[in-house]
């Protein structure tokens, strides 16, 4: 684990996209903000708040497809790009700009946060 990210304080390099299996999501801890990052089978990446706005279900454990995510707890669906609730009235998810670098690293933009590191005093 490398603890000193050379990133600016807004764009963070979360490491290789291979950390996430194709078509799935994983949760990353950025400072004290948990973020769910998703890797679509067509190569797109998305990032949203990690916990569902309904009852805090772990969204990274949901099923994704066609740009949407279904929460594993009660099956509410959200648009991954905008965070908008689809067919229900829970609050929209917070989304974060995310992209891939030339060599396939996840680049996440998040205001004023640094990634957690083993040395840090994260939870």
């Amino acid at each position: 684990m490398i603890s000193a990210p050379p990133s600016t304080d807004r764009t963070l390099n979360l490491g290789p996209i291979e950390q996430i299996p194709p078509g799935e999501g994983r949760r990353f801890q950025i400072g004290n903000v948990p973020v769910a990052v998703f890797r679509a089978r067509d190569g797109q990446v998305f990032a949203t708040q990690a916990l569902c706005t309904h009852k805090a279900g772990p969204l990274a454990d949901g099923i994704m497809g066609a740009g949407k995510i279904v929460c594993p707890l009660h099956s509410y669906t959200f648009d991954l790009a905008t965070g908008a609730p689809l067919g229900h009235t829970c609050k929209a998810l917070k989304t974060y700009p995310v992209s891939l670098s030339a060599d396939g690293d996840i680049l996440l933009s998040i205001e004023g946060q640094r990634p957690s590191s083993r040395e840090g005093k994260q939870p």
């Binding site: 684990m1 490398i2 603890s3 000193a4 990210p5 050379p6 990133s7 963070l12 390099n13 979360l14 490491g15 290789p16 950390q19 996430i20 299996p21 194709p22 078509g23 799935e24 994983r26 949760r27 990353f28 801890q29 950025i30 948990p34 089978r41 009852k55 805090a56 279900g57 772990p58 454990d61 949901g62 099923i63 994704m64 497809g65 066609a66 949407k68 279904v70 594993p72 707890l73 509410y76 669906t77 067919g87 229900h88 009235t89 690293d105 990634p115 957690s116 590191s117 083993r118």
Partner: protein
């Protein structure tokens, strides 16, 4: 080119939104630019169904009629969440906070009404809001807040014993609260019922557990920070921690009043629904007063919307609204009730016919005036309602023998057959759709119930007429109703039935979920179809299946059952429910080491360790050293057993031994839904084998009865005997054969009991016992292949399919 007129609608509820739909349906998009204002921040929803949301029978997301996207698609500019504050009729503009304005040529006011809050002390907190625990019941947000609060409340008081109050009471009762209805009058629902009917309803409700206080005038809500009770004028009190106010409604007319429109109880309108003193402004819905009447039900309100759409689009310029005869079928707490017209005689020569049967809660009353039906109350008998409603609506002359109306078809056939009812009979009361209109829609080519409902709008209000609509459609199609083809698709995203899908998958050699989307769905991924397809492909290909883990539900990615807090439950396999001290010790050690938050014996005789975090799962399995119990997936689950011949003094067959064999053979076999099994050593059936998906019961003579399609969950169904066999081996064989047939033909998430009913036990016996189609040998071979393909998924603790398979949080490997 004609320039479009500006049409502005204030209020996006049942009336406003229906009116705009009707305008669009008449080509209004070419004549008008439409702007809507709605104070509620949504598209529009079916307010009637809020009662069902409250009662827990509908999900909020299922009551939406038009989403925000719908407005966009139809070129309607909707200001959602914006309340209009002022209408300037001189410059013809409406104003809302935040500088939002809209100019109009025609303005429609459809602001509905609000809950009437009678004056009483202690209602509000310092901020002027209702004190925590006090609610009115009008909007989706109200409903949402009430449901949340009800979760922690114990005892609720509903102020007002009218229809809405009783529906709120039912909802709260369903949510486990003790419910008191506090009513000012001497009997319930006095607006619709007479004293006798009100009294019968009272007793019926009390039987269901509602407590009712009559002639109680509430003077204050008690409690400092939150509700603790109610105080009444007679000095008495009621302790409660939640209060719902349902004491009637008041039309939302302030906006109209401030703009100088004529307002009495509602906004006064002419027969063309224009306002008395401004012909460019119209009012419809609960805020409108027409010929002295303010309507509070959806049927007349939708009628107004239709007439106004005709007037404004010129479809029928002389369309006039002449008032509605109010008749309704109401569902109060599941009690059948229909009321129409007058509830009591008004003139001296009115004839009153009554029938009362207190023990069954049946009360029927007719009021006949000049040979026509002037009013009726029907409590506890739904059968007589359709005929009476029809006679009332059409003002038909009454039969001399009144009893024929009160007791329709007393004889063997109780409900009149669809063929017998006349074309003019109204089927959908909310939308005023007659049998004739439904038949016409079918003749015009609608062959599915859904198509007919879309075309005629029948069934889209309160929904209680759906079964009748279905019956009329079936009748009009001569029985050849086509069901919505999509209802037969195995999954929504691939337009094929299950057998056709299996065939295509085999022919095109599609071995992964993404290959199916590519080959059979034009490359369109559909997330609602992924899991179902994965299950089917595994059944078709067995070991040859190309497993894409993202098509699995989380439980099947990590082989444990997700719980409400995101942790998992672990259930190791204990064959036949027979364990040993050594095994128990190991389970206890693991539970301690990993801090299982609860250790529980399950309904299927297994031991469940709850509260295990995802990243700990592999260690837990390793330490247990037992195979997976598959309690988290759509597959064979467990076989419950009784002690049988080894110890029981009644046992005639070795149920424990058979159960262990069953479990060893079928562990991990995936199926459309879970399969719970059981074996019993004699017909005393201690393990409840006859109400399992598959069960075996030992009978005298060394024989076994094999049951299929039993259920003891939300449905209870005794299974059907598929066959009686002579040996344990034959039990295994029959069970496997049925499982394989179900795997191939069951719809995704269709339990065996629905599958057996759909297929029919006789057909199943012919196929699986008599081998009428010669498929048994193949079924036997295919289930054997599935058995052979079994791998314990918990071995993935040592060989994860992906390094992060069990990661809870991925540590950030920044570079």
């Amino acid at each position: 080119m004609i320039t479009k007129q500006q049409l502005v609608v204030v209020g996006n509820g049942m009336a406003g939104a229906r009116f705009v739909e009707d305008v669009l349906a008449r080509g209004g998009r070419d004549r008008f630019s439409i702007t809507m204002f709605g104070e509620e921040p949504y598209g529009n929803y079916n307010r009637i169904l809020l009662s069902s949301v409250m009662a827990g029978s509908h999900d909020p997301k299922d009551i939406f009629l038009n989403s925000l996207g719908w407005y966009e698609e139809n070129g309607v500019k909707l200001h959602a969440g914006v309340r209009v504050g002022w209408i300037d009729r001189l410059s013809k503009k409406v104003y809302a906070p935040g500088g939002v304005t809209a100019a109009y040529d025609k303005l429609v006011i459809a602001t509905g009404s609000s809950a009437f809050v009678p004056p009483m002390g202690g209602l509000y907190d310092q901020s002027g809001e209702f004190k925590p625990g006090v609610f009115a019941f009008r909007t989706l947000d109200d409903c949402d807040r009430m449901i949340k609060y009800a979760g922690k409340a114990r005892r609720a008081a509903v102020i007002g014993g009218g229809l809405l109050g009783l529906e709120a009471a039912r909802g709260l009762l369903n949510r486990g609260l003790e419910v008191h209805v506090v009513h000012l009058m001497s009997y319930l629902m006095e607006a619709q019922l007479d004293a006798l009917a009100g009294g019968m309803l009272h007793r019926l409700l009390e039987k269901m557990g509602v407590r009712i206080l009559l002639e109680k005038f509430t003077t204050a809500v008690l409690g400092d920070d939150a509700v603790t009770g109610l105080a009444f004028k007679d000095g008495s009190k009621l302790d409660c921690d939640m209060v719902v106010i349902s004491a009637g409604i008041r039309a939302n007319v302030d906006l109209a009043k401030q703009s100088g429109l004529t307002v009495e109880r509602g906004i006064v309108v002419h027969d063309d629904l224009s306002c008395r003193n401004d012909t460019n402004v119209y009012a419809i819905g609960e805020c409108a007063q027409h010929r002295g009447q303010v309507y509070g039900l959806v049927a007349p309100i939708w009628e107004q919307a239709r007439v106004l759409a005709d007037v404004l689009t010129g479809g029928n310029k002389r369309a006039l609204y002449t008032g509605s005869r109010v008749s309704t079928k109401l569902k109060v707490m599941g009690i059948e009730l229909a009321v129409m017209g007058d509830k009591d005689p008004k003139r001296e020569d009115d004839e009153v016919v009554t029938y009362v049967e207190p023990s069954r809660g049946v009360y029927k009353k007719l009021i006949v005036r000049e040979g026509r039906l002037a009013g009726a109350i029907l409590l506890g008998d739904g059968l007589a309602a359709p005929r009476l409603l029809q006679v009332f609506d059409r003002e038909d002359p009454m039969l001399d023998d009144r009893s024929e109306l009160l007791f329709p078809m007393s004889g063997e056939a109780k409900t009149p057959s669809v063929a017998e009812i006349p074309d003019t009979a109204q089927i959908c009361n909310c939308n005023g759709v007659s049998k004739g209109k439904i038949v016409a829609a079918v003749k015009a080519g609608c062959r599915t119930v859904k198509a007919v409902c879309d075309a005629t709008r029948a069934g889209t209000g309160c929904g209680s007429c759906k079964p009748q609509v279905q019956a009329v459609v079936a009748f009009a199609c001569d029985g050849a109703v086509e069901e919505d083809p999509a209802a037969h698709y195995y999954v929504p995203g691939v337009a094929l039935t299950k057998p056709a899908l299996i065939k295509a998958v085999r022919e095109q050699d599609l071995r992964s979920v993404s290959a199916v989307f590519k080959g059979l769905a034009g490359g369109r991924e559909d997330l609602g179809s992924k899991v179902g397809l994965a299950s089917l492909l595994k059944t078709v290909w067995g070991k040859e299946y190309e497993d894409e883990r993202d098509a699995r539900f989380i439980n099947d990615r990590v082989h444990a059952n997700i719980q409400k807090d995101g942790t998992f439950s672990v259930i190791p396999r204990i064959y036949g429910g027979v364990t040993s001290p050594e095994q128990l010790r190991r389970i206890a050690d693991v539970a301690e080491k990993y801090n299982a938050r609860m250790v529980k014996i399950t309904g299927g005789q297994r031991i469940d360790l709850l509260g295990i975090p995802k990243e700990k799962l592999p260690d837990v399995w390793n330490d247990l050293g037992m195979p997976s119990g598959h309690a988290y997936t759509k597959a064979f689950r467990t076989c419950k057993t009784c002690v049988g011949t080894d110890f029981c003094r009644y046992g005639v067959g070795d149920s424990t031994g058979l159960g262990i064999k069953i479990e060893k053979r079928f562990q991990g076999i995936e199926s459309p839904h879970k399969m719970k099994l059981a074996t019993a050593g004699c017909p005393r059936n201690c393990s409840e084998a006859t109400t399992k998906d598959i069960g075996a019961v030992a009978i005298e003579g060394g024989k076994w009865e094999v049951y299929i399609g039993g259920a003891a969950g939300s449905r209870v169904r005794k299974g059907d005997v598929l066959c009686i066999v002579d040996s344990q081996d034959d039990v295994l064989k029959c069970m496997g054969r049925f499982m394989q047939y179900y795997r191939e033909n069951g719809k995704y998430l269709e339990r065996t009991y629905d599958f057996v009913e759909r297929t029919g036990i006789d057909a199943l016996r012919r196929l699986l016992v008599d081998d009428a189609d010669g498929i048994c040998a193949r079924l036997d071979a295919d289930i054997q292949a599935a058995v052979d393909a079994y791998d314990d998924p918990w071995t993935e603790s040592r060989k994860p399919v992906h390094p992060n398979q069990f990661a809870g949080t991925v540590a950030v490997a920044g570079r």
